[in-house]
């Protein structure tokens, strides 16, 4: 019995009590109360490592909306577990860091930790959900918590801008993904990812295959900040640094990678998937590392570097997906290192990038700036921070003895292998991958050097700093130190990681390949004078030269015109959409209720008439024999009353004529032996007539002031149409018998509900839900009237006071 599905919910439950803790125990930093949650979750998840390594995944399912096939199903395999451990592990470190980073006196810590816990739970939900609808729900929740965290310092304009941008882009992708997932569910006829994978062979031929793939990838690319959707990530750096370290480098932005990895068994092996994923990844890798070099803000630099590294991982996943084309045979062995490299780099990136973000946070906290033009020579002031920065950025640059070296080598292996493929037109374009990868690696190397040496070496400029401090508290140094030690640990013991975490994850990305034992070599630091090593040496040499001459060629960045950037396109798109929609809205929101009623009734007529015509459902079985004299007379009087409403020149007459019609309807109820309805109709009619008379004073004069002939013609058309539609529906409903009769309920109402009055039994018992919602609507309407009038009263009072 697994309790995992409850474990995921713990952060949500705990988030409820965090504000109370913040309010009632202000003397202790709220973070200390939150810290145990990720630590415990991490320990709990670590328990699964050995099970998963033995290839026995867990599944647990709780029905949620069983009628739609939506179950809250949790599934643990290698891939999910890697993400789960990263989310909880880095989460614990980030919370510890934030305790020292955020002041308990000044900050709204209650909000901060609630959002953080929301995010943590949502992210665990994303990676452990087997049901795509549940996955989507958690997916959007991560976007929302990210939005809240970016806008944590919402007093700043730039925070709000960044939060809005992130939300717009990721939610756009999320909607696309939902559409893709629903198409996929339609194709495979299941909501469960595992079952989709089992039925993967049938999906390729389906006409919706390509559309669902593209839509799904939109979701993944927006979330993982891939080109051209990457523009939200640099602006998301307005969030507090612990959040940048956590959401925007280690976890949330990797949700897209998770999605791609998770759906590789379904889409992998097709040419479109291969080129889309690896191509976009490659462009992003190049663009991210190219743009990172020109940044002067340390956090922006790390943001672009994250974009590039995410692109690299996604590119590797794309290249590795070619293995699905071959199936578990010998040829596929060329592609598997790419998947292994992707997952390995995923872990490594979380460690070194988390460490670097925390280092930037320390620099910002101690000096008051993140601008490399003002920083320099901090080596002597902060030796420990300097060491951590060196470990993190050298790992990112791909130098030994750090884990980044291993995954960078594997990356080169992946692209070199891919260039040797002879499928998907790789024979023509394959060489592009190693070349672009190599160039991007050079830029990566350069910005890593910039990061370290511009900040810590060079001239110390105390006059440009806002404040000067030495090393921070141990609590801010410990989390990056833990990550830095992992960076080194993974270099020396990669096979431990590979055996327990990476290989099970590869097994879930490429099901059936690991068992086939295609001879994937162990991850080793030294494997001879291979092309990969020569490429790395080339990167270092060229990178050194370019870094030394940076001032000579950096001017090149200035040549890119502003109107050519994606940010410019985003901003102008936003402004233009706003303006266009404002124009459209102002076009039809006239402020006259008669216009609004016209829209509502016209819409009603069009939709219902369309449905009736489309389904050809009009039916009319006249039963003239049963029409009595009374009914004829009543109808005649009603018609006269209706004409009076139309033709009267005084509003009072019109209102009274309306009342007559209402009373006549009540008479009909009497004739048809429905005393309940007749009674209700009589009283309702009375009360509404009084209400109508009350509003009498406000109504405009009836004397044909409103409107020329066109307006009246439109009104008449809509009114006639409406009357016609209602008549047609009434006649058809009477003549068709679509459903089984439910009069059985009514005949037995005394046994079923203990009531002899069937109308009342329907109201309170059989259709109690309807009644409940009805009175709720009634109540809302009453409050609505109250608010509308009170608002106006208050504004009038204010204006009279001003006078």
């Amino acid at each position: 019995m697994s309790w995992l599905y409850l474990i995921i919910l713990i952060p949500f439950l705990y988030a409820v009590i965090v504000p109370l803790i913040f309010k009632h125990i202000p003397q202790i930093h709220t973070g200390w109360f939150v810290l145990p949650i990720p630590v415990l979750l991490f320990m709990y998840l670590a328990k699964y490592v050995t099970f998963v390594a033995m290839d026995s995944p867990f599944i647990h399912s709780v029905p949620w909306i069983p009628s739609l096939g939506i179950n809250y199903a949790t599934y643990v395999d290698g891939l999910a577990l890697i993400f789960g451990l990263i989310v909880t592990g880095i989460g614990a470190l980030v919370i510890l860091y934030s305790i020292y980073y955020l002041s308990k006196e000044r900050e709204a810590l209650g909000n901060f930790y609630v959002y953080l816990l929301l995010f943590m739970g949502a992210m665990l939900g994303v990676v452990f959900s087997d049901n795509i609808i549940v996955l989507y729900m958690f997916w959007e929740l991560t976007s929302i918590s990210s939005f809240l965290l970016i806008a944590y310092w919402y007093q700043r304009k730039s925070s709000r801008y960044g939060a809005q941008k992130a939300l717009l882009i990721t939610i756009f992708g999320g909607f696309a993904m939902l559409a893709g997932l629903l198409m996929l569910a339609n194709i495979t006829d299941t909501f469960s990812i595992r079952e989709m994978i089992l039925r993967a062979d049938k999906t390729t031929a389906h006409p919706l295959f390509l559309q669902s793939m593209v839509l799904l990838l939109l979701g993944a690319f927006t979330k993982s900040a891939q080109f051209p959707f990457h523009i939200w990530l640099p602006d998301a750096m307005e969030a507090p640094t612990p959040i940048s370290a956590y959401l925007h480098s280690a976890t949330m932005v990797k949700a897209g990678i998770y999605l791609i990895a998770r759906f590789t068994p379904i889409f992998g092996g097709s040419m479109e998937w291969f080129w889309l994923v690896s191509g976009v990844g490659m462009i992003t890798l190049f663009w991210g590392s190219f743009s990172a070099v020109k940044q002067v803000d340390l956090k922006a630099m790390l943001a672009f570097s994250t974009i590039g590294q995410l692109g690299m991982i996604i590119c590797l996943l794309g290249l590795g997906s070619a293995a699905m084309y071959y199936g578990p045979v010998k040829e596929a062995a060329l592609c598997i290192p790419a998947i292994l490299a992707a997952l390995f780099h995923l872990v490594n990136h979380s460690t070194f990038k988390g460490c670097l973000f925390m280092v930037v946070g320390i620099i910002d906290y101690e000096t008051g700036t993140r601008d490399i033009r003002r920083l320099g020579g901090l080596m002597g002031l902060m030796p420990v921070t300097f060491t951590l920065a060196v470990i993190g950025s050298f790992s990112m640059a791909g130098l030994p003895p750090f884990n980044g070296f291993l995954s960078k080598e594997l990356f080169f292996t992946g692209v070199l292998n891919a260039s040797r493929l002879d499928i998907f037109r790789m024979e023509t374009w394959g060489m592009l991958f190693p070349v672009v990868a190599w160039i991007a690696s050079i830029f990566t190397f350069i910005y890593c050097m910039v990061f370290v040496f511009r900040t810590f070496a060079g001239d110390y400029q105390p006059q440009k700093l806002e404040k000067i401090n030495n090393e921070p508290a141990w609590g801010m140094l410990l989390p990056p130190a833990v990550l830095a030690s992992l960076v080194i640990l993974f270099f020396f013991f990669p096979s431990l990681l590979a055996q327990y975490l990476l290989m099970p994850a590869v097994a879930s990305v490429l099901p059936g390949f690991v068992e086939a034992s295609l001879g994937i070599g162990p991850i080793e630091a030294w494997h001879g004078w291979t092309p990969e090593l020569i490429m790395t040496i080339g990167v270092v040499v060229v990178g050194m030269i370019l870094f030394a001459n940076y001032h000579k060629w950096s001017r090149f960045y200035g040549y890119i015109p502003v109107w050519f950037t994606l940010n410019f396109a985003y901003d102008s798109l936003l402004v233009k959409t706003e303006k266009t929609f404002e124009k459209i809205t102002r076009g039809y929101m006239t402020g006259f209720i008669r216009d609004y009623l016209l829209y509502i009734f016209a819409f009603f007529v069009v939709v219902l008439a369309g449905v009736i015509l489309m389904l050809n459902s009009f039916a009319f079985n006249p039963d003239v024999n049963n029409v009595s004299m009374y009914e004829v007379v009543l109808v005649f009087v009603m018609v006269v009353a209706a004409l009076m409403v139309l033709l009267s020149r005084h509003r009072l007459v019109a209102i009274i004529s309306l009342g007559i019609m209402g009373y006549l309807v009540a008479m009909f109820f009497v004739i048809f032996r429905a005393p309940d309805l007749a009674l209700t109709q009589l009283v309702v009619e009375t009360v509404t007539t009084v209400l109508f008379l009350l509003c009498f004073y406000f109504l405009p004069d009836l004397k044909n002031k409103i409107g020329e002939i066109g307006f009246k013609a439109a009104n008449m058309a809509v009114a006639l149409g409406f009357g016609l539609i209602v008549t047609v529906i009434a006649l058809s409903a009477q003549s068709n018998r679509l459903f089984e009769t439910i009069s059985w309920f009514f005949e037995n109402s005394y046994e079923l509900a203990g009531a002899k009055n069937i109308v009342n039994a329907i109201l309170v018992d059989f259709r109690g839900f309807d009644t409940m919602l009805e009175i709720l609507v009634l109540c809302i309407a009453g409050i609505g009237v109250y608010t509308l009038i009170k608002l106006r009263l208050d504004s009038r009072k204010v204006s009279s006071k001003n006078r």
Binding site: T680, V683, V690, L691, Y697, A753, A755, I775
Partner: protein, 168 residues
Amino acid sequence: MQNQSFGILRGLRRFTEGSVIKIKINDVLLQTVTKVASFVILTFSVYLFLAGHHNPGGGFIGGLVVAAAITLLFLAYDVKTVRAGFPPVDFKVLAVSGVLLAVITGMGAVVFGKPFLSHAFGYFNLPLFGETELATSVIFDVGVALAVLGTALSIIYTISEDMCIWKR
């Protein structure tokens, strides 16, 4: 003659003008009838409410009839006088508590492991009444009645209050 036939309309004007008019129009006929009629209507509404289970009536109509009776009082006298004679209940609170009561009755079924809004009924031997049927749906109906009454009156009351100020 005109005085009598347009009594209601005049009442309406008084209703809307509230305490603004200094010289009160004394509509003896309407007021005298109302005094008697409102009692009859209110009693009838109680009957309607209780009869609902087996005969025509129920919470919805019961609440509406009470609302109609109070509206009649509003018409015959002015809003202020009528309100002074009532306990100071906020009609909005009345409406909301009605909805709450209905929802809670529905939740009661969940506590006993039944689907939401299931009702129970049974026959009990009560002193004075003899064998009587008691049903939880009546509680639900009370909620409906309160919601209808509260909403109708709060709308009428708010609008008329608004008009008093408007006139000024």
